[in-house]
Symmetry: C2
Subunit: 715 residues, 2 copies
């Protein structure tokens, strides 16, 4: 049944082909007047410069890591890592291209037809969505095809002693399931690029935003999006870099993480199946002890199949949205399309699980995961949309003063962690109850199965936003701006849901990766055992180090966030200086200030790589599991708090700008602007980067699991 | 050796007697002019009204809980609970009395001699410090004396089946070590009052502060501390309620928690000593398997002895400070006194451990704990004092605008979690390595062993602050105000250290309580086993629920904080309305607005009681351990972040007021006031209440451990 792999292969090819079709659709439309084209060109150039610069710097880092992986493990592992990094980077480039290609076309189409403008924005989003899903899945499929031998059940656990260098130095056997290393390295590549994108993009976009505000206010009094303010182009570039590139890379990375955690756990369980209690786990999955080769492949490829049909569902839903004639209610079209993709994905998953030799309870895990993700998304919308009570109350508080507004925003963000915490806890218990250790991993897979659609809709938002900026910059009539504003507003609801969804799915997918890590750690001594992490233990060596590591882990997200916020302020300061210095030389200065501080990005990203290794080597592999869980717990709460505090303060400002409490220019508005400025880096830099932090650390832990000692040396 | 208990008994009596002496010393001094006496009277009346009202409301809650404990367990447990609550409440009253008795006397003395004023303020603080330590220890000693039979090693584990009602309903044996229940109930009583004080006082003080600002600014333009502003008296009252009553109750509660966790663990280990691996733990403590009755008492009473001699050390240090002639450098006197008490306590602990039959490594745990607590305290000072770079940098950022300042403050607070996280992790590994499961508990004991001194110095601060307020209100010459300001500034450094110390010790003491809980949970089935908590497990019933509970636990502190912040805003709003309504009728209105919202206090406190019971009954006793650890991890980070963000924003404001970046009235100053208002509830309401949250939940978990099922029913 290895041949099943050709189904994802074909579907990936089809998905990537469709991006070309969507691109042709875009190219058929005109980008409008010279002025509009020029604005588009500036944004495009800015975004490309940023991405190229980033890619160039990052290629060096990636290269060094690949060499280390090659020396430590196998060349296959190093190449899988490079593939993951390359594809993630490519997804960023494609998204950047489509977004900056579509924006002016949306503006132009908005002069004639709202539905046409909507379609173009959707097409731009679709390119990104399909590219993310297609590339991520395509890369994995490619690994299966190229390194088929490593996944072969007959030889799965043989190559253990093939790496004399490391095992002789450390006196330990290297992780003996090469296939698990290959998929993890692929995931690490994707995660690393995603974090770099998020950190780099997040710092740049908020620093540009801050700089635009400061320059606009302090130097000359220019309206928002005025092209004479060089920082405002940078701001538009930042939107693309952060919201398109960053979010796409983030979801791609969650997506890959959720697939590979199922695969890694499965590989370990399969290799250890002669152990009675492990074989019980296989039975829970619906596979009896005497698992045939056919069944082995079925179970291994099922995650890829589910994801593949998620892409088909996305394509159908995108097609529906473009073809749908209901020009009156585009909001409903967008919502229905998103719902359609989710429902279709679940129907396909149902059929696949039904046809597979798997226990049917796995389907329920997928369904629970999908529901949990959507629920967390909606909660985020409830707390951050001005349509509901929390933001309305926040606007009222803000009208009493900036300080009370910010305090209220913080309380709102903290309170918004309640339902997500509850939902995640229930989903964990339920999926675990249904399918044991596989349950959580399949839950994560379910959450991310229709990621293509999520990314498409999330990309639609910044495209519509940019289109509005271009309309303003090119001085188009009020009517056009109104249409682009409406398109933007339509996207905002789904975008809020999407952001919440990204956090929820990140938590679940990180947990699945931690479970996979523990299998790798428990199985690294040349035989597989069921992993256990004891927080308190009869074995003092474990008890002490795991608890200590939990504290360390819980502290890391705070420090990480602090560094990010500081990087934003510092970069903004530098940008302002640069802009002041070169203010008269526009447009040449664009190139000068478009550089984010790569050293900071690399420093912050490096922490993420080094920390798990440090904890693993110093405190041992059990402690590292504690560290990861501590970090995850802290990350999830902090990410939700930051995202929703920032989102609510932003929308409270917009609500006041809409004419409430005195509207624009009132004291309430001044207070709300202060609130928004405080919330911005929380929402756009800290929150999203935290999503990736734990996943990347976990995947690194999986890769290096076999090198860590069990306990600290001094014990 | 039971007779050893008379040593703490005598020392307690001596400590309480000294509070009378210090009170006589205060009474000998005059409170100054009529005007000053009147101001003092207002503050005193306000504080008393608040405390009485609080006590009255709370007596009902306490009574209900006592009846429940009586029905569920033994009457001894219920009375121990009442004793703990009563003593904690009394400590609050005594502190309130001494602070509001000393304040005007300090102002008056400041007209003649700085050293004299300093001495009076120290005497006021000493009353609180000695009362807290003396009452807490005295209550425990009383329990030993009265319920001696329950602690008798011969009968320790016998009375298991004596509670037919509950055990027959639930079909489970009640926790069979009555002595452990008695000390835990005592601790629960103290914790509950402490949380109520912290929540009630914290909400009241910040709401009054906010109301004073709003009324002062919006209604009439009155300077700070102007007696015509009724809210400013409320503000002064709030300082006493929050800083004196709250902090005292907080430290008392940590103090009791750290003692009883050692005792509970020890009782379980002793009862289970026939089990080979448990007896190994006893040997680690220096007690061989054939532990004699003499040794049993020694080991049980050692924690009380260490604490007793901590009180002696405090008395010596206080004496040194009052007698010291170095009037020039009072800062040094205060610091040296604090150091002296710490060093003496360690010397006494050294001697006690040396004389006891205990393994000497226990002393190192005590020393590590003390060091860790002090280190965390100093870190807090580094991040929040304007003498160091972080606050100076923050002031610079604030001068660029309120938003950038607040963002910088948040980053600073987040960054400040780094060293404490590291210190706690290292202390856990080190103490565990030295003395196994007892290590952490002894570390916590070491941290809190000189608590009398910490409380004294922490109470000194608000007394000096209040004295300044009275000098201002009574229109005394600038010279007097300068002296009180200087006395206040001297206290600020040690207060910052004290606040950090409270957080660090809370974390450690909560962890010790969680360990004690696990012993209670593991030992509840009628026999004692070594507790284990598995986060991931071969047993899916444990694996799933513990992880889920970790997520739930980590979310709780955020929700708790959100409720607190909302309560502050809501109460402030009500106060402002009340003040506006009655503005002309001063001073009668004082009584009207002095009521905090008790319903909110009770609601928030009840959550803390109900949550652990809910998790314990619904998800089982292992999951509850996960829940507590998740809450602790989140609490510690959030508490440090809130405390230091608030502290730094406060001092950045003061730094600007001192003339930097334009000084008072400048744009920088306006921005810093906004920052301070955001930081205030974080620092004075959220941070301190979080300290207590986990300890109270843990102690409740200990009490009810035997009633919880092992797994959820549906598994």
């Amino acid at each position: 049944m290895f041949e099943l792999i050709f189904i994802p292969a074909v579907i990936c090819a089809f998905a990537l082909l469709s991006t070309l079709l969507f691109n042709r659709y875009l190219a058929k439309h005109d980008a409008g007047s010279e002025k509009m084209k020029e604005l588009q060109k500036h944004i495009r150039e800015g975004a490309w410069t940023f991405m190229f610069e980033e890619a160039r710097v990052f290629a060096v880092v990636t290269g060094i890591i690949a060499v280390i992986l090659w020396l430590l493990f196998y060349w296959e592992v190093a190449s899988a890592f490079l593939l993951g990094a390359f594809l993630s980077m490519s997804a960023g480039f494609i998204g950047m291209h489509s977004a900056t290609f579509a924006n002016a076309r949306v503006t132009n189409a908005a002069q004639h037809s709202e539905k046409k403008a909507f379609n173009i924005a959707i097409a731009g989003g679709a390119i990104m969505g399909l590219a993310v899903a297609g590339l991520a899945l395509g890369g994995l499929t490619l690994l299966f095809l190229i390194f088929r031998e490593a996944f072969n059940p007959a030889t799965l656990a043989i190559e253990s002693k093939a790496v004399p260098l490391v095992s002789s130095i450390l006196g330990r056997d290297i992780n003996f399931i090469k296939a698990a290393l290959i998929v993890s390295a692929y995931s690490m590549g994707a995660s690393l690029v995603a974090l770099f994108d998020r950190v780099g993009g997040g710092i740049f976009t908020k620093a540009a935003d801050m700089a635009a505000d400061l320059v606009g206010k302090a130097e000359v009094h220019l309206p928002e999006d005025d092209p004479r303010n060089p920082a405002s182009i940078a701001d538009n570039v930042g939107d693309n870099v952060g919201d398109v590139g960053g979010l796409g890379a983030d979801l791609l990375e969650s997506f890959v993480g959720s697939i590979i955690s199922v695969i890694v756990i499965y590989l370990y369980v399969y290799v250890g199946r002669s152990n009675a209690s492990i074989s019980a786990l296989l039975e829970q999955l619906g596979a009896p002890l005497g698992l045939s080769i056919q069944q082995y492949w079925w179970l291994l490829i099922v995650p890829l199949l589910i994801i593949s049909f998620g892409i088909i569902a996305t394509l159908i839903a995108l097609f529906y949205m473009v073809v749908s004639k209901r020009a009156k209610n585009l909001q409903a079209t967008l919502m229905n399309g998103t719902r359609l993709s989710a429902i279709l994905t679940m129907v396909f998953a149902f059929i696949i699980i039904y046809l597979s030799p798997m226990n049917f309870s796995v389907f329920w895990c997928i369904l629970i995961g999908a529901f949990a993700g959507i629920a967390i998304g909606y909660i985020a919308e409830y707390y951050t949309s001005s349509a509901y009570r929390p933001v309305k109350k926040l606007a009222e508080e803000t009208s009493a003063g900036a300080a009370i507004g910010i305090t209220g925003g913080m309380a709102l963000g903290m309170l918004s962690t309640f339902i997500p915490g509850l939902v995640v806890a229930i989903a964990i218990v339920a999926t675990y109850w249904l399918a044991g250790l596989f349950g959580i991993a399949y839950g994560a897979l379910g959450m991310l199965s229709f990621v293509g659609m999520t990314v498409s809709v999330d990309t639609y938002g910044p495209i519509a936003d940019n289109a509005g900026g271009i309309a303003q910059g090119a001085g188009l009539p009020e009517k056009v701006r109104k249409i682009t504003d409406r398109l933007d507003a339509i996207g905002n609801t789904t975008a809020a849901v999407g952001k919440g969804f990204a956090i929820g799915s990140a938590a679940f997918s990180a947990l699945a990766l931690i479970v996979a890590y523990m299998w790798s750690a428990a199985g690294s001594a040349g035989e597989v055992t069921i992993p256990t992490i004891e927080m308190l233990s009869a074995n003092p060596k474990i008890g002490a180090t795991v608890i200590a590591a939990l504290f360390l882990g819980a502290m890391i997200p705070y420090v990480f966030s602090a560094l990010l916020i500081q990087a934003v302020s510092d970069t903004a300061k530098k940008m302002v200086e640069e802009i002041k210095r070169q203010f008269r030389k526009f447009p040449d200065i664009l190139k000068g200030k478009r550089k984010p501080d790569y050293n900071k990005c690399i420093a912050i990203t490096s922490i993420t790589i080094i920390l798990p290794l440090l904890v693993g080597f110093a405190l041992g592999k059990y402690a590292l599991a504690g560290f990861l869980i501590g970090a995850l717990l802290s990350c999830m709460q902090l990410a939700i708090y930051c995202a929703n505090t920032g989102g609510a303060l932003d929308n409270a400002k917009k609500y006041i700008e809409d004419g409430h409490y005195g509207g624009k220019g009132s004291e309430a508005h001044v207070a709300s602007v202060i609130g928004d400025t405080v919330g911005d880096p929380l929402k756009d830099t800290v929150g999203p980067s935290l999503d990736i932090l734990v996943k990347l650390m976990s995947v690194i832990a999986i890769l290096f699991a076999s090198l860590f000692p069990a306990y600290p040396i001094f014990f």
